[in-house]
Symmetry: C2
Subunit: 419 residues, 2 copies
């Protein structure tokens, strides 16, 4: 990849370099919700640039595609257009291009400091599916709750196991959640009790979003999948472990999961992530033909989870990587639609908890503290088995090769007490 | 209830009497999609009536509430308005009211024969939840697949067990489905195979739809639930039993269910069903306080399933009743939101398969043929263990007390071969 330089000041270690150009939705004083990108510490109003004629590939498209509360209509334009928009923005931000750089008035109108804007939930989530595609996570859970010698269930290496989650309760980073209440069965009891969840947990996930659907009765192949996947976000799929334990047999998680899932405000495109593709784990046994794939379909994306307490003390409690995924996104989408299920523009797909091979890379408190048997010591002297009221969970992610860095920002969520 | 007579001709045994006044969406030659009701064999254009000033309670509401492809905006007006619209339509259709009856031109414009219209999917389904609330069904499944002596799992009588289904693949009655393909594990094998589902099944369900949501973090109590529930529909929640068996542990059904769920075109309001309320089964053990309820919350709704083969022969294979539900809709909605999960206008909730106490009242082929061990003999000499290509499954439902009949029409779906 050529080295690109921008005339915009981009701090060292910024997630939002000229190689990234993610998409989001912002609003600001006097500015209606609209499509934007992030560059360095700035937010760039794409709707304004289109109005001023900087984005000829959008001429003829309805204005409300960019002046919208969600990215859905923009994504639905299709990759041929949205890729061209991203490349054009990279061009306009390049040091050797004077079009926007040289137009003081437009620069003043189009650029906002990140402190001046309010980011909004970027996607109107139509359907949400959660996968369970980290072998290390599934193995840890199987070891803890079933049989260490047969931790993975027989279907796990044949199917990218997934289930339907709740679309309505997907919320933006920065939105606090209340500790959920629900039924649990205390150890040794036969009668359930009702009250605030005692084992609140995060799940370090990434999510992808589709920009192109399929008709009911048709399928999307592994080869076609990348044309349907717009990009990715950070995703914290909150879990109430004690509620889940009592409710989930035989039909899967329900109230243990549907009280909240937090996403980051920026959608990083598959194209921006292209340089970070790497090989996935070897799949043995061989998968069925509809799940076979060629080339690199995993991504080397470094992920961290920090826990911040009400006193302000903070500790990094997990360092994982998206590259550990056993099943890749193309396989997930092919499997999801192989029965004819239709997906839509604006559907979200969680990876499942992304755990790595070592304890410091586990993607949930359940695994990090091994069901609470190995509490985390926090710098302020407190300990954590699960998440306390007043805690904030902060997930970050970025990919980096040499000087090329593409990041996701963060998804940060504070936990309030039950109401 | 007073006996009501209509000046519209209503055939004996019509589901669409003056006591019903369901809501749907139709289109016809030269007529854009809009809200309508059914009376006898006619479809009545409610948007036209509003335009002509017959519905004063809608004056001041946006026109597109009625001239819409979905009922969502109409439902969102709230029950105080939608109930008034229904009562006003009953008034206009009453024998002793001359307003519409006496206006030949408006009658000509507002009424359509059912053969002249195309009914559309009435709801833009935002989220879909499927419950599992028939004790007889859960007992049958538990007996077949687990332990006849402990057929019900320990949580079943404490929780209205439910899980998230797929909203995108909910389709209208009359839309054919293709037999889904997927992974299954043949008996005695360790390697799965891929191909058309061999054990395709229907599930006789009813669904309710919400017209009022709640904010994330708040709950809807059992007492408040009826104000959030707009009405009910017939619901065939298609299932691929062999795909389900291989995929569903530990996270629940996925591809076995998300290829299609069929609904009827008419939403029958809770108000129309009020006369048919009856007591539900005694709940023992006592439920937790948030699930306690007062008064009658079950409904006496007679349900049938007919199987029609490609040769045209037809047989009624199930006669069940919605009154058998162990958990009622108010309990389901209270449970769904007790953790703070937010529901939305246009969310759909399936009851789960509605089986009665006797084999002729079982609501799925799985139960009727007891896993295929007791095939059904069809009038044309063929037999059925599950559903064949070319079969059409037709579900009907109605409630009746003396001369008061309120029905749902039907949900009818033909099965095409795999593509």
């Amino acid at each position: 990849m050529n080295v690109l330089k921008s005339w915009v000041n981009i701090p060292v270690d910024s997630d939002f370099t000229i190689y990234n150009i993610p998409f989001g939705i912002f609003t600001a004083e006097g500015i209606t919700p609209r499509v934007c990108t992030a560059i360095g510490d700035s937010v760039l109003d794409i709707a304004y640039l289109a109005d001023k004629g900087y984005l000829p590939m959008l001429e003829g498209e309805p204005k409300n595609v960019l002046k919208s509360s969600y990215l859905n209509d923009f994504m639905a334009l299709g990759k041929s257009i949205t890729k061209a928009v991203r490349l054009r923005l990279m061009e306009l931000l390049s040091d050797d291009n004077n079009e926007l750089k040289g137009h003081i008035q437009d620069r003043e109108n189009a650029f906002f400091l990140k402190e001046e804007v309010t980011m909004l939930l970027p996607i109107e989530v139509k359907n949400y599916t959660d996968f369970y595609s980290s072998k290390e996570h599934a193995t840890n859970v199987g070891t803890m709750f079933r049989d260490p010698d047969n931790a993975l269930l027989p279907n796990w290496k044949h199917i990218p196991v997934g289930y339907h989650g709740r679309a309505s309760s997907i919320i933006l980073s920065g939105t606090p959640i209340h500790r959920p209440k629900g039924q649990t069965l205390p150890n040794g009891e036969t009668q359930p009790v009702f009250g605030p969840c005692k084992l609140l947990d995060f799940e370090l996930e990434m999510a992808f979003v589709t920009c192109k659907g399929n008709t009911l009765g048709t399928s999307i192949s592994v080869e076609e999948a990348e044309d349907h996947i717009f990009g990715m976000l950070l995703f914290n799929d909150w879990s109430a472990r004690d509620i889940q334990k009592w409710e989930y047999v035989p039909l899967g998680p329900f109230l243990a999961k549907n009280f909240a899932s937090s996403i980051s405000p920026w959608v990083v495109t598959l194209e921006a992530l292209e340089p970070f593709k790497i090989a996935g784990p070897k799949q043995d046994p061989k998968v069925l033909p509809y799940l076979e794939y060629l080339g690199n379909k995993n991504y080397d994306i470094q992920l961290t989870v920090c826990l911040q307490t009400a006193t302000g003390t903070e500790k990094q409690i997990c360092k994982s990587n998206f590259k550990y995924m056993y099943w890749n996104m193309c396989q997930q989408l092919a499997h999801h639609t192989v029965n004819g299920c239709n997906v839509m523009v604006g559907d979200i797909y969680g990876s499942g908890t992304i755990s790595g091979p070592t304890p410091d890379s586990y993607g949930s408190m359940l695994e990090i503290t091994w069901k609470g048997t190995k509490p985390i010591n926090m710098p302020d002297g407190s300990t954590r088995k699960f998440i306390n009221d007043g805690d904030t969970v902060i997930m970050k992610g970025h990919a980096k090769i040499n000087d090329i860095r593409v990041g996701f920002g963060e998804v940060s969520t504070e936990v309030f007490p039950s109401v």
